[in-house]
């Protein structure tokens, strides 16, 4: 049993397989890994290596076929659907590649969508301020650029003061400069609120920002690198 003060997530022989059409796809083949609390962790690996599946399972969006996921000492595999909902509601902030904002709500309202149901959220406007978007609070997603939309998504994720932020290719749809702005926002959150951040990316350069890099290949963890010192986004050679 890991100590929740030091270990956010610990997985044990995590397996996931789906049936698509007539073939069985083994997305995860027995992943055992630990994520220490407060770290910025990057998941690296080619398409189809199982990163997203892993992230979805530890975030309670999907359930494993077998194995265990310990979060703060409890095994998510034993959670009911209802418990998983509350786990997400209280502990996890998600950021997706496609932003997934409600198009009919303004930036501020999209954030409020989450603060509404969280037990101890921050002010919605404060969350937007944290990503530097307070001046765009009353704009609809269609009136925002891609980078701005993703920062709204980050604001939405941090507004609930989550213990972990799970980000699936948050800069995948953005150009480099915008991507840097978004990453900065994430790093800020990580440092300011000591929130554990797990970020999926294709971009190996991002790995230099992380405390820890977990490499995925073919449904498994191939190796884990721990960086002694983290670089700042602007120091990276993209």
């Amino acid at each position: 049993m890991p100590d929740p003060r030091t270990i956010s997530f610990k997985t044990d022989s995590l397996k996931k397989s789906y049936i698509t059409g007539e073939t069985e796809v083994h997305a995860l083949r027995g992943v055992s890994v630990e994520v220490p609390t407060g770290e910025l962790v990057v998941l690296l690996g080619p398409s189809g290596s199982g990163k997203s599946t892993f992230l979805n399972i530890i975030g309670g969006l999907d359930q494993a076929t077998s194995g265990h996921v310990y979060f703060c000492g409890r095994d998510l595999a034993t959670y009911t659907v209802r418990e998983l909902t509350y786990f997400r509601r209280e502990n996890v902030g998600f950021v997706f590649q496609a932003y997934n904002l409600a198009p009919s709500l303004t930036a501020l309202e999209n954030v409020a969508l989450v603060t509404e149901i969280s037990p101890h959220p921050m002010e919605s406007l404060a969350a937007l301020k944290a990503v530097g978007l307070e001046h765009r609070a009353n704009h609809f997603p269609s009136q925002l650029s891609g980078g701005e939309q993703q920062r709204v998504a980050i604001a939405r994720a941090i507004a609930k003061r989550p213990q972990v932020m799970l980000c699936d290719e948050p800069t995948g749809a953005l150009d480099i400069e915008t991507g840097i702005v978004v990453l900065k926002a994430l790093i800020d959150v990580n440092q300011k609120y000591k929130t554990t951040c797990i970020i999926i990316t294709h971009n190996a350069a991002i790995a230099q920002l992380a405390d820890r890099v977990i490499h995925f290949a073919d449904g498994n963890v191939s190796h884990v690198n721990v960086n002694d010192s983290r670089k700042k986004p602007e120091d990276i050679n993209w």
Binding site: N56, G59, L61, D62, Y86, V92, A98, S104, E109, K160
Partner: protein, 789 residues
């Protein structure tokens, strides 16, 4: 917070798809309104009728006789179960109105002197009641009074008992006994040519030689009394006085017509709203479930950020409830408003002096509940499907699923199909159930359109048969009693008469085993050419030398077949009991007729040949001359001009049935548009991103529209035969449910009905396509590619 961001999202989402939501509201409004209108009108009319009957002491049993001394009434009152009886003198009269060429028939009914009538009370519309023993004064039926633009104080000339008298109109009245004032033997009320008058009993007795006697009796019975027993005993009492068989309200002519009319409204009414409401419910279900399906990604997002399944479901349910709520309110408001108007209209039509609205809350709740359940179940089903997916999967776009080459391609037509056609076919094949449901929705819209047009088609067809194949005479007249053939010769000798045929009508009771029916046998000459009887194939049936030609429906009611003998009791003076075989059937849509060769009938009645009426073919230029002449013949009691009958029928149709029909057609058009627009709009939102991609790849708007509308056009084309089929099933059910003793509705549709229905569906389709086309125009190519809609 009550009005949190989720509710804001709800309102904005509804606003965003306001077009579709409006269409759903329209469909639901139509469904609920029709339901509320029909049931409201029916319930109100029934309540109005019952209240009228109750307040004005409409009798339960009626009997007419030749003549009985007033003392006989005591015997009647001694029959167990009789609570009140009222004797009257009723006399047939011929009325001579200066404004009309033809003679008019009517009936004078006595009113007690110096006291109020115990039964069948009159409602005084204007003027005053009669004074006791008042001479030469009458009260007059409201419809006749209006039809002839009479005024109080006017004098009306009548021929009573062979004497001409002028009677002063002192009051205008309505009677529960004559809600429908129909001349004996007529099919429809004609207030211009049939009048009802009320006169002081003593004056009438003196005028027709009935002093101290009566020839008509009405009875009110105790609530628990056995009406059949009372009728039997009454017949025994009245038999020595020339009593005809007594009858209850069910056979009382006015009530019979009113009940039949209501029953017809009811059958039609029951069918139409149930069909409309079911169709509306079905559509709301389909539309809502597809609407929710397009929200899949947002459902995934809401779940990912921590909303529970229940919260998400409730969110979308609120959307549905908001829409159904609006639909319900507008449906109820429109329904009660139009229903009240229509009740008023029918009340005027029936000449009810009172008006009682009865809009049942239960009916309203049912209608709203039914639609809401349909919408909610459709929504829940779709939400469950979306919510059951892990959020991660729900957020991914659904599209790249399991496509395969379509059947046509597998059949080797690959080369003939463009890429765009292949896209259309594969899409249809991947989602056959969805395509079928959309087609079914449109088919239902088409079916209810056909259904709405049906009534006019079939009634017109019925009348064409009645007046072009059966009653081909120009005029028919009836004598006040059976006359010798001499009368026929006299009529033939009159100006303008080209041809005459004899008619002999005898009221009878027909019995077969324990089945019994009152009717009258009509004797026609062997090769009758004016008044004919036709068979199922619409060919004339020649009167056989012996035996009865019986209406199929009547034969069915009596359970008698060709070759079997029926007991016939003549309801005239001699009361002969005869046994006559049924030799042929006839097909008639109206009434329960029995026909015989007039020679055979006359010989069976053991009389010298007689006629009670004449069918006449007339030189059209001599109409007025003939009518004027006939007016002076006291023996002529009634006269029907066939073209006038037809005209009256058309007016009645326009006044009653067709109003309901046009309401139905209007609502059916709403539904048809609502369905098609929604199908098109949802198809667009489901395929929006794909279509945007095609535009990005360089396809023109026209080509993109081809992919979208190709799919819709295909569905529309499939829906047409399906709609005809459903329409056919609905109509068959309708024809069966409308069958009554008075009417059988023929299953008949004009070709133009198919044309109009298809036209309305196609216009709805084209208009919907146009509206959606404007949306295609607005697709934002860039943001569509980014995944933001």
């Amino acid at each position: 917070m009550i009005f949190g961001p989720l509710n804001t999202k709800l309102i904005r989402d509804i606003w965003n798809i306001k077009g579709q939501m409006l269409a759903i509201i329209l469909v639901m409004t139509a469904g609920i309104a029709i339901f509320v209108i029909t049931f409201g009108v029916l319930d109100s009319l029934k309540l109005t009728r019952d209240t009228y009957y109750d307040r004005y002491q409409f009798a339960d049993v009626f009997a007419s006789l030749k003549r009985a001394p007033e003392l006989v009434k005591k015997q009647v009152n001694n029959i167990q179960g009789v609570s009140v009886s009222e004797s009257r003198v009723i006399s047939g009269v011929t009325v001579q109105m200066e404004t009309m060429d033809e003679p008019i028939s009517g009936k004078i009914i006595s009113l007690p002197d110096g006291r109020k009538s115990l039964l069948n009370n009159l409602y005084l519309r204007s003027g005053r009641m009669l004074y006791p023993n008042e001479q030469d004064a009458i009260m007059i039926d409201d419809s006749f009074f209006n039809a002839h633009h009479l005024e109080l104080g006017d004098k009306v000339s009548v021929i009573m008992n062979g004497h001409k008298r002028k009677l002063k109109v002192v009051g205008v009245v309505l009677s529960p006994e004559y809600v429908y004032s129909i001349a004996p033997g007529a099919l429809m009320p004609d207030s211009k040519r049939y009048g009802l008058f009320w006169m002081s009993r003593r004056s009438l007795e003196a005028a027709v030689g009935m002093k101290g006697a009566f020839n008509d009796l009405s009875i009110k019975i105790d609530r628990q009394a056995n009406i059949e027993k009372i009728k039997q005993q009454l017949d025994l009492v009245l038999k020595p006085y020339g009593g005809l068989i007594s009858y209850g309200r069910d056979e009382q002519i006015s009530n019979f017509f009113v009940s039949n009319e209501l029953k017809q409204l009811e059958s039609m009414g029951m069918m139409a709203p149930i069909i409309f409401l079911s169709v509306a419910a079905f559509l709301i279900n389909v539309v809502m479930s597809r609407q929710i399906a397009t929200q899949r990604e947002q459902i995934g997002m809401l779940k990912a950020v921590g909303y529970s399944d229940i919260e998400v479901s409730w969110h979308y349910l609120k959307m549905v409830l908001a829409v159904t709520g609006l639909g319900a309110v507008s449906g109820l408001v429109l329904g009660t408003w139009m229903g009240a108007g229509m009740t008023q209209m029918y009340t005027d039509f029936f000449h009810f002096p009172i008006l009682q609205y009865n809009f049942s809350v239960v009916v309203m709740i049912f209608a709203v509940f039914f639609c809401t359940i349909a919408a909610v179940s459709g929504t829940l089903f779709a939400i469950r499907r979306a919510a059951n997916l892990p959020p991660a999967e729900a957020m991914r776009s659904e599209s790249p699923n399991m496509f395969k080459p379509s059947v046509l391609e597998r059949l080797g037509l690959h080369a003939q199909l463009s890429f765009l056609s292949r896209m259309i076919l594969r899409q249809l094949e991947r989602r056959p159930v969805r395509a079928l449901f959309s087609a079914l929705g449109m088919a239902f819209a088409l079916a209810i359109l056909i259904f709405s047009f049906f009534m006019e088609d079939s009634m017109t067809y019925l009348m064409d048969i009645q007046y072009e194949l059966t009653q081909r005479e120009d005029v028919n007249l009836s004598f006040n009693e059976a006359r010798s053939y001499q009368a026929l010769e006299e009529i033939y000798a009159m100006p303008g008469v080209l041809k005459v045929e004899p008619i002999r009508t005898v009221p009878v009771t027909l019995k077969f085993k324990h089945y019994k029916k009152r009717s009258s046998i009509m004797g026609l000459s062997e090769q009758s050419e004016l008044h004919r009887v036709i068979n199922e194939d619409l060919n004339p049936v020649a009167m056989p030398a012996t035996g009865l030609v019986m209406n199929e429906k009547l034969a069915e009611l009596l359970h008698v077949k060709v070759g079997e003998r029926v007991e016939v009791e003549v309801l005239e003076e001699k009361r002969q009991k005869l046994s006559i075989p049924v030799t042929a059937y006839t097909q008639e849509f109206i009434g329960l007729g029995v026909y015989m060769n007039i020679r055979d009938l006359n010989s069976l009645l053991d009389e010298s040949p007689k006629v009670t009426g004449v069918s006449i073919m007339l030189d059209p230029n001599y109409g007025a001359v003939l009518y004027k002449k006939l007016k002076q013949v006291p023996a002529v009691m009634g006269l029907n001009i066939v073209s006038v009958l037809r005209q009256i029928f058309d007016e009645i149709m326009a006044e009653s049935l067709l109003k309901m029909m046009s309401t139905n057609i209007l609502f059916a058009s709403f539904i048809s548009f609502g369905v098609i627009y929604n199908t098109a709009r949802i198809t667009l939102s489901e395929r929006g991103r794909e279509l945007a991609s095609l535009r990005v790849l360089g396809l023109t708007r026209r080509e993109v529209a081809f992919v979208l509308f190709g799919e819709l056009a295909f569905i529309t084309v499939i829906s047409l035969p399906l709609g005809f089929l459903i329409g056919k099933i609905l109509l068959s059910a309708m024809v069966i449910s409308l069958e009554s003793e008075l009417f059988r509705i023929p299953y008949y549709l004009n070709n133009s009905t198919y044309g109009y229905s298809v036209l309305i569906v196609l216009l709805s389709a084209i208009f919907s396509f146009y509206l959606v086309w404007r949306q295609v125009d607005k697709i934002d190519l860039v943001s569509a590619q980014k995944g933001v809609e």
